[in-house]
Subunit: 314 residues, 2 copies
């Protein structure tokens, strides 16, 4: 089951305590595709400038990613540079140059319009709405957003939510969107506005899936070394939707498939941070993700409860 | 299997966004006992001043808590007052008056010395060592500590660690103790100094148990309303050690018992924050904890992995 992703295709310059990378592949659509293509065919819509090293995207093509929707425009590609702090949980943005992304108007190629799964990366909510007008009737629409849009395009974002099945965002973002410190209340606020599911990403603390009457927690995978956190959230989304698409995103066993997908998202996202850019995905195989999923199971499963008898005998 | 706890028995004045409580029962030994006594007999050693409303501890006695080790000294009881911020994740200490606690020298009553499980609450590491000299040979020793001791009595704290099986502390504390941002590295650093297990408490993000070659994650229980977070960590410790004591703290199925105990600790701790002081424990029954444990299971269990066949058929 194919996945359409619309988002940024960028060049990043990143400094971490472990090294530096200059003008490497970045952007939400890039990280998403690298991750999701482990599981399902992916179709990308985005824009690059005439300075983009297009051949470096070849490894995505080799993984079955259809890049026909990447438009090449005159000018500079979206560029972001940032520096991570010692504990890697926070970072400073040094520079953001939108370049050709400033005038980006997504055009969904004819042969992408029947995509059953759609991921609206973290872009202007008006563009997200524009994408939804161009696709047929996807079985599952997921979207990401960020504080910038919550503050500057709130009305448009709320219109997007009406058409979204799964909203993915960070804990600070969902708190700001719903204006409440309680994640539970915030998730319910979102579900009252369209989405059936809210996935809250909490970085090293893992992720939570909220549904109307159940929820599911995944811890953060305990890594020996976090090398570069850039793109972890988009790789999480790629693993999550990839796993759902691989299973057919069917409604029948939705609960189980969604729970499993959160774990696949966590496992896939945990690989993103092990190297700069999307480099870890150049060699990553599904078997490695599967092994990490099995580890997640060991780290969260517990056997039966204390029996009253045991306790009374204490 | 009885549990000996040594810690503070205090009076707290607390302000939260939901109300105020003046001079109510507080202190690590109080919260620990209220929680652990759901599971096993508890013996308390501490000190109170002549201003302490002793009859308010009667509900602990009714739950099988032996208060023979609470010494009454001339002067004021340990008093703490604090104000929680809007999101309840942070607080300001308004006042701390040690009172009789400043000269506290734990004296373990003769009939407490055979306690098979010992919990050293968050007190001066020199006093923790003093307690260990007075007990026979406990099967399980657990200890808590805090930044204040990590900074001011580091050498003494390291001596305590040599005798401790389980160290419980917050994520910021273990990072400071081991001087590393990685929780995994920090836990290993601690295990190299004595403890076989490190339990890292992460507030709303749950708790992690680290052992030499495995680990276990529990999410924070998703509460509708957090009323007063005071004492949650000590109630967690009480539920954790209580569950272990109820099962006999046996080595045979140590892995399983420890995993289960982390969930029991999380479930028990989650009740502490539902009311001021230890008030929620006045009526709490084991069955309510058991139901929350069952909910934890639903929130973390996922069925089998994606099969390669499923993925190839995508």
């Amino acid at each position: 089951m194919s996945i359409l992703v619309v988002g940024s295709v960028a060049l990043d310059s990143v400094e971490t305590p472990f090294g530096e990378a200059e003008r490497v592949l970045g952007g939400s659509a890039t990280f998403f595709s690298a991750a999701a293509s482990l599981f399902a065919p992916v179709r990308v819509v985005g824009v690059i400038g005439d300075d983009y090293p297009v051949d470096r995207l070849d490894f995505l093509r080799a993984r079955g990613v259809d890049l026909d929707g990447i438009e090449k425009a005159e000018g500079e590609s979206f560029f972001w540079s940032g520096r991570y702090h010692y504990d890697l949980n926070s970072r400073d943005t040094l520079e953001t140059r939108l370049g050709v992304f400033a005038d980006f108007r997504p055009r969904i190629p004819e042969h992408f319009r029947d995509s059953p799964v759609v991921f609206l990366g973290n872009i202007d909510p008006e563009l997200q709405l524009d994408v939804l007008r161009q696709v047929d009737s996807p079985r599952l629409v997921a979207a990401d957003t960020m504080n910038f849009w919550i503050e500057s395009k709130r009305a448009e974002l709320l219109r997007v939510l009406e058409h979204v099945d799964v909203l993915l965002l960070n804990d600070s973002e969902v708190r700001e969107l719903a204006d409440t410190p309680s994640l539970l209340d915030a998730a319910r606020w979102v579900m009252d506005r369209g989405p059936r599911y809210v996935v809250v990403k909490k970085g090293e603390h893992g992720a939570v899936l909220y549904a109307r009457d159940w929820m599911f927690f995944a811890p953060g995978y305990p890594l020996e070394r976090v090398f570069d956190p850039t793109g972890a959230g988009d790789a999480f989304a790629g693993g999550f939707l990839g796993a759902l698409a691989a299973e057919g995103a069917h409604e029948g066993e939705a609960h189980e498939a969604l729970r499993r997908a959160i774990i696949y998202g966590s496992a896939t996202g945990s690989f993103a941070v092990e190297d700069f850019s999307v480099d870890r995905f150049r060699t990553l195989e599904l078997g490695e993700v599967e092994r990490r999923v099995a580890e997640f199971r060991k780290m969260t499963t517990f056997e039966h409860e204390l029996t009253a008898a045991t306790v009374e005998g204490a």
